[in-house]
Structure formats: C-alpha cells, structure tokens
C-alpha cells in the first residue's frame, strides 16, 4: 500500500463570493499518495496555487476525523464522494484510480447559499436546532443520573439518531433539498428518551416549522439522504418525525393565558 502515487484532473467549482456567478476551473493533482485523504490531496493543490500567487480553493473542514461535520462537498455527483458512510475528510485516495477526472462542487440547496468556492452557509441548521432541538433543564436542576432508567434498546436507538454530525449531505443529495433527515434525527433522539417527553409535541411542531421557514424542500421519501449520510442516519427517523408531527398536531392543547401565575 505504501509508495503508491496517482495523478488526477480536478474540475473544481470556483466562486469568489455569494454574488459571483461561479464556474469550473481545471487543476492537475500530481503525485498524490494513495494514503492521503481527499482533503490532503486538496491541501497539496492549494499549496501549489499559493506558491503561484493564486488564491487557494476554499472549503470548510476542521477535525478531519469525520465527526465535526464541517467538511462536505460533492465529488462526481455524490455528497462526500463515492465511499459509503464516509465524510470527504475520511475518504482516502486509494479509492481512486490513476488518471481519473473528478468534478468537485459545493452542496447545492436554496437554504445553503454558497459563500466561496466549496464553502456554503449552513446556519439554517443552527436555527432549526434553536427552535426546540433541546431539553429545557437549567443547570443545577438535575436528579441523580441513575434515577432516570432507560431501557438499553431505547438508549441505543436514541444514540443512533444523535450521531448526526449536521454536515448537510442529506440536503445536498435530495432532489428536493429537504432537511427532513437532519431535523428528524434530532426529533427522534429526544422523542425516544424519557427526558424528552415533556416538550415532545412542541418540539416536533416548532422544528418542522423552522425547517420549512428556512426554504428546505419537502420529503418525498426517495431515500437519497440515507444513502449519502456519512453516519448512516436511518430513514426511520423521518417516519418517526412524521408521526410525531401528526400526533402533535392532532392533540395540541390550548395555551392557558393565566397559566404562568404563581
């Protein structure tokens, strides 16, 4: 495995800023180690660009361990590239063959405006979380941790939903640019746990409303999101969100004006 090197041609989306039209530019990536990650390959291309006095290709990235969710763009039409269950920072060049031509472009969605090159603005995700993606418990109010018993299967299922890294690949791979997988993962995580019950209905209603307000499309259950998700977040979450949303709508309780006295 060591010592193998490949050459690639990259067609990369370059866009100076949010208002620029943008276009593809072609670059050569030479002598790329098969053991390098995709982003390390781009680092080397960027180093060459800087040495020539050109602006490097801008892309978001941080932990490079597949957990922070900062990285993400489209490689040959696939969010995070061809390897299943893998963020682009964990995609290694041994998955590509010598001489390949790769097209690299940003996640495309109305709710993810392009900032520069491959960087997009995903703050819409933060605003969805802000709209109820939490359990309201002030510091100091907690009971002993083992006073809340949770069946292991429920805890495991909640954990599987909670592993979403918020990268946006689900949106980018959806023909409707829907954020249903992202939103449902958080709604599911909390609906599955006893701690999440008190605000369960309100959470489902508010988060779905926030998702719609951001301009994400509707879910038509094609499953493209699940296939592209680097963390294998399951479509079951979307089914659960739909159920949560429906139940919440059907059983909404009126707010009492005098409820806050005391």
């Amino acid at each position: 495995m060591a010592g193998k090197f490949i050459n690639l041609v990259l067609k990369v989306w370059r866009q100076k800023g949010p208002k620029d039209a943008g276009a593809f530019s072609e670059y050569q990536a030479k002598n790329v180690s098969a053991d390098a990650s995709f982003l390390e390959m781009l680092d080397a291309v960027n180093e060459d660009l800087v040495n020539k006095g050109d602006e490097p290709i801008a892309f978001d990235h941080d932990c490079r361990e597949g957990i922070c969710g900062a990285c993400g763009f489209v490689v040959d039409g696939e969010a995070h590239g061809p390897q299943k269950s893998t963020t682009v920072c964990q995609l290694h060049m041994r998955n590509f063959s010598d001489g390949a031509v790769l097209t690299i472009e940003p996640f495309r969605a109305q709710a993810f405006p392009v900032l520069k090159d491959l960087m997009v603005d995903r703050s819409s995700f933060d605003r969805i979380i802000k709209s109820g993606g939490y359990i309201s418990t002030n510091t100091g109010n907690a009971v002993d941790a083992n006073a809340i018993l949770i069946p292991k299967p429920d805890a495991d299922e909640a954990m599987s939903s909670a592993t979403c890294i918020g990268c946006g690949a689900c949106v980018a791979s959806c023909k409707n640019a829907s954020a249903a997988l992202f939103t449902s993962a958080k709604i599911s995580h909390m609906a599955l746990l006893p701690q999440g019950q008190i605000e369960r209905k309100d959470r489902a209603l508010r988060m779905v409303a926030a998702m719609d307000a951001e301009g994400f499309g509707s879910c038509t259950a094609t499953g493209a999101c699940e296939a592209a998700c680097p963390k294998d977040i399951s479509l079951t979450n979307i089914a659960r969100m739909n159920r949560e949303f429906m139940v919440a709508n059907l059983t909404k309780q009126p707010k009492h004006k005098d409820g806050g006295a005391g």
Binding site: S33, I135, L193
Partner: protein, 638 residues
C-alpha cells in the same frame, strides 16, 4: 509591572472549600443580571457550557467562535469518555479517590483545591448531561454503563460509544441554542478573537475579525471568558482539528494574562502513525481501546514478520511486563514514553520503525467480534478508512502524537487570569491537570468550568466590582482595532515566497524534535536558536494571496502561525528552565530507570510567564504548590 500571583484558594478543609466559597461569593440579583454582558470566546464544552448556564441565569451573553457553527468545536472529537466519581460500580470510587488519582496522574503539579472541586462537581456533570438527553451507554437494567481509563483502578468513565465528546458537545450546544432562542445568548460565528480590550485595568471587550467579510469588529462587555482550547497544533501534526489555535489565548497573554506551564504537553500513546510528508493531521485511537487491546512489539530487534507469524513467546507485551498492576492501562505519558523506548531499541513495527501493535485478538477470542464491534465499532471503521487495514484481522499499528496541552493561561481559584475580569475555562487555562492529564478528564474539566464554576465566580466578580459603562467608541477599542489592522496589513504586505503552512510545518518539526516526548538542555537551546530565525523568515518571506477584506483562509492560517511561533519559543524556554521531569515534561537528564524524576525541592511550583514586549524575554513568576491532603510521592504504576 509585575502582578503578585495570588491563587485565592479559600481557607478551610479541602472538602469544604468550594461550598464555603460559593456561600461567600457575592450575588447579583435577577434584575441586575440582565444589565450585565459577558463575552464568551469559544463554544466547546467550556465555552458553550458557560454561555448556556450564564444565559439561564439571565446574563446577556455574546458567544463567539471561528467555526460556521458552534457545534463544530473540537470537543466534538473526544472519543472515549468522561470521568465522574459516582461509584455506580461499587468498586471503591469516591470524590477523594478521583481527586487523588487526578493529582497523582498530574504528577503532583496541579493545585489541590482546584482538583478537589473538579472531583466534587464531576457527579453533577453526569446528572446534568443525562437530564439534557445525552444518550450515554446503558446496561440492560437501564442504569448507566462505565468503562476503565488509564491511571485508575476503578471503572468511573461514562461513555457514548466512541463518540462521547460529540454527544456531550451536542448536548451543550443544544442548551446554548435554547438560550439563543430565549434571546439571552447572541451568537457570533466565523469570528476570530484578535485582541482583548483592557480599560482601567479590567477586561472590557474584544476585537474580532469577521472571517467572511474581513471586517474588524469591537464588542464590549463587563467580563470576558476565553474558552478557546489548547495549543497542540504548535507541533503542526497533532490530533487537534485544523482550526485549533493558540491565538485567542496568546493575544490575551500579550495584553497581560500570564501563561502558565507552557511546556506541559500531552503526547497521546495511541494514534495512527505518520504516513507521509503531506499529512495534515494525526488521528487518535481512543484510550478506551486499551481496555481490551494489548500493546506489544516483537522481542527481537528488526523482526519484520507478519504479526500473526510471531509466536506468543517472541512477543514483548511491554506495558504488562513493566507495569504489572496497571498493565495496558498505564497513564498516557508513561505509555507514550515506553512506546518511544521500544522504537528507539529498533523494535518498531512499521516501515519507518515508528509504531507498536495494539492487538485485540485475545479479546475477540474471549468476547467475540460482535462485542468488540459494539464497544469500538466506529473506531475500528475509522482505522480501516485511514490505513486500509482491518483491525479485526491484523493488530492496529499505533504511535504517540501530540494531543492535549495542560499548560495555558494562568488562572486563580476563580478561573480569573492576571487581567481582572478576564476568565479562562477548559483546556485554555492551566489549572487542574498538572503535568499530565488522565484519560476522560478533559471533558470533565471543560464542563466543570463552564457549567459549575464560572456561573458562581463570574457572579462574584460582577457583584463585587464597580464597572463603569463603556462603549466601543472608547479610545482603548479604537487603538486595539488599529493594532489588529496594522498586524493584518503587515502580514499581507510581505508578499514573500512561502505559504503559512510550509512555515508551520517547519515549526512543527523543530518542536517535535526538541520539545516533544524527550527534551534536553542542548536540544532546547538548539530550538531556541532556530525559532527566532523562523520568526524572521515568517515576517520576511510569507506569502498570502488575495486580500484582507474578504474571506481569506491563508490570512487566517498566517495569523495563527505567527502566534504559534511565539508560543513555541516560550514553550522551549519553559522546558529549559524546568530542570526536572514531571508528567508529560520529560527532561532526559532527570530520570530513574526511564521514569520521570521530579525535583520537589526546587520545582514544586507553577511557572507563569509574563509578556514584556515584542522580542523581549518573558519574565518567569512562580506560584508555589502546597500539598496538604496528598502526600508528595514518586508516581508509580508498577
């Protein structure tokens, strides 16, 4: 002007100090809380925890991060777990034992009172995180699970698969977003702190650069919290995320906050080895793997056989051999040094001879592949993605890598720096973990500082300090803004030939070679000759394409590298002055049989460095450490 270092440790017995201190602290009444603004820089566990808790209390909080979303903070990458003295396993744990283990683990170079408080609030942290919906691992009866970590003989580590940091960070982020929802926390993403503004001797605001527009902005407040993480990226290659930097802490240092024990860095024993020149970072394989993995090298020098072909009798399970009572769970500094010794002996197992095996074969035989996959599946997958090797079939190859920094801005018991009103939390401060951090303690410290310490100590400051109203049109803001712009323009105008990364890599090589796992007088002196030359190279030959009033990644990198160079020099000076070995600071001249040899007579103190001006030598101050509850002993895990 020099400040006397007063740790402000409360009087009374160690068990009562924190309770007493909370009672003695001044309070701010609810109507007055909303008149106070607090700036929090960084949104990891410490920063987001502080922002959430202060927001709940009713303070106006402005939270800043360099990321596009606060959920990206590097706490997210912590894998193995978080310690708490719950004694749920009935195995003899207690607050006192966690306190003792942490003081000993830190090689008796931390402040007793701080560590005890950390151990006390550790139990509240688990309660709080569970209440927030963090899906920790559970047993079939519904109770919480625990695992063991290095340097402890009890199972006190709580975990969420191999993604504990992610789950704690997302929980903390959610609570902070709840306060954004209430309007008490105002979020400023993609902002990098480039200066602290000090007015009448107190921290009253910060200067940030908007990373999207390049605009330099001023923000005022009644107090500032820095929770910007550690500085392992001074080594270029480390387990830290790419955006981790010392910049916020370093700018505060240059404004008057002392920097303590910069030479205390942690080299983590189990990381994926370096594979080539273009590598951008190193990846950690959680310490939790040492619960079920056995570390070994061949007994014979230069044995290049496939590991499966090396019979048991020809293997050296060196941690089990050297440390029979802790075995593979020896603490990080100790395990890293032993790996280095084996490789120095010529018994390393990869092509470069810089790796040892971490072998799961026995555990797979004992527990089955399913059980191992349930415990560590995501780590095994990550290993395979990076190396192309299947660790179920062939032992992992691992090697030590820079991971965490125990040094940081000096703070007193209130987490307040030498600049009044400037508080420092989490990895960015120096306080609790001494010269070596035990596994699963970083998450604990970040959350303790943010959720359980700062809400009290900041309240005490705000309640007891006369603070005149200030606005960002104050001269101090103008001159700080000018200083920031001047430095940016200076870097942009060099127009030399070298990228920031290439200079950063060179710095990393110097630091790893001379201030890494082993340090000595001659090497450190060499580094202290090389670093100023590199600094000169930076300021004369740097190249940043593009311009500064735009999104400019190269400019961001360059600013961080400039600060790392200055920090690197201070680290080497600190390491040179500390003529003893302790924890992660291993001076080769001071050892007994390969173990660290402390000098309690001369070095039982915190070294806190005072910045005295550009290109002037920093001044070393001492805070003597007193041990009243723990006997100063030679640390042994044998």
């Amino acid at each position: 002007m020099s400040v006397k270092l007063d740790s402000k440790i409360p009087s009374g017995s160690i068990e009562d100090k924190w309770t007493k201190h909370k009672f003695d602290s001044k309070l701010v009444n609810p109507a007055n809380k909303r008149k106070h603004t607090v700036i929090v820089v960084g949104t990891g566990l410490a920063g987001a925890g502080a922002a959430a808790s202060l927001g709940e209390l009713g303070y106006k909080v402005k939270a800043f991060c360099v990321h596009e979303s606060p959920r990206r903070a590097h706490s997210v990458a912590a894998q193995g777990g978080i310690n708490a003295a719950k004694n749920y396993q009935n195995d003899g744990d207690s607050v006192h034992r966690l306190f003792y283990d942490t003081v000993k683990g830190g090689d008796f170079r931390s402040r007793e009172a701080n560590v005890h408080r950390l151990a006390e609030v550790s139990t509240n942290i688990i309660d709080q995180m569970v209440a927030q919906g963090v899906p920790f691992a559970r047993e079939y009866g519904g109770t919480l699970s625990n695992r063991s970590f290095g340097g402890a003989q009890v199972s006190r580590t709580f975990y969420a698969r191999g993604q504990t940091g992610q789950q704690l960070l997302l929980g903390t982020y959610s609570e902070m977003m709840r306060q954004v929802d209430t309007g008490n926390v105002e979020l400023h993403t993609r902002r990098e702190m480039l200066d602290v503004v000090v007015i009448d001797g107190k921290a009253r605001g910060i200067i940030v650069r908007n990373l999207l527009t390049g605009e330099v902005e001023s923000h005022e407040a009644d107090a500032v919290v820095i929770a910007s993480g550690g500085y392992s990226n001074v080594f270029f290659l480390s387990t830290n995320a790419m955006n981790c930097a010392v910049t916020a802490a370093w700018k505060a240092h240059k404004r008057g906050a002392y920097f303590a024990n910069p030479c205390y860095t942690q080299i983590h024993p189990t990381c994926i080895p370096v594979h080539g020149d273009n590598q951008s970072k190193l990846t950690l394989m959680s310490e939790s793997l040492r619960n079920d993995g056995r570390v070994w090298v061949p007994k014979a020098v230069g044995d290049k056989r496939h590991p499966a072909e090396i019979p048991e009798i020809e293997r050296d399970y060196y941690l089990e051999r050297v440390y029979p009572s802790f075995g593979n769970l020896a603490p990080r500094d100790v395990a890293s040094r032993q790996a280095k010794y084996r490789c120095d002996e010529g018994r390393g197992v990869n092509e470069a001879g810089q790796a040892v095996y971490l072998d799961f074969a026995d555990s797979i035989k004992r527990l089955g592949e399913d059980k191992i996959s349930e415990r560590y599946g995501n780590l095994f997958e990550m290993y395979e993605k990076i190396t192309g090797e299947n660790p179920y079939k062939r032992p992992m190859m691992i090697y030590p890598a820079p991971h965490y920094t125990m040094g940081g801005l000096w703070v007193d018991y209130n987490l307040e720096s030498t600049i009044p009103g400037l508080f420092v939390a989490g990895e960015a401060n120096f306080s609790d973990l001494g010269a070596n951090r035990l596994g699963a303690s970083a998450l604990m410290q970040g959350l303790a500082d943010g959720y359980f310490v700062l809400p009290y100590t900041l309240g005490n400051y705000l309640g007891g300090t006369k603070l005149d109203k200030v606005a960002t049109n104050h001269d101090a803001f103008k001159s700080a803004e000018d200083g920031v712009k001047k430095e940016i323009n200076k870097m942009m105008s060099i127009k030399g030939a070298r990228s920031a990364d290439s200079i950063h890599k060179e710095l990393g090589h110097i630091m790893w070679e001379y201030c890494g796992m082993g340090r000595n007088d001659a090497g450190l002196k060499t580094a202290l000759e090389k670093i100023p030359k590199l600094k000169e190279e930076f300021w004369n030959n740097l190249r940043i394409p593009g311009n500064s009033n735009d999104l400019n990644v190269e400019l961001e990198k360059a600013g961080r590298v400039a600060d790392f160079i200055e920090l690197g020099e201070l680290m080497c000076r600190d390491a040179l002055e500390r003529k003893e070995s302790c924890g992660g600071h291993f001076r080769e001249e001071f050892q007994v049989d390969g173990e660290a040899k402390r000098d309690d007579e001369n070095f039982c103190h915190v070294a806190a460095w005072e910045y005295t001006g550009d290109n002037k030598a920093e001044v070393r101050h001492k805070e003597e450490l007193e041990f009243e509850n723990v006997h100063l002993a030679t640390r042994s895990y044998k």
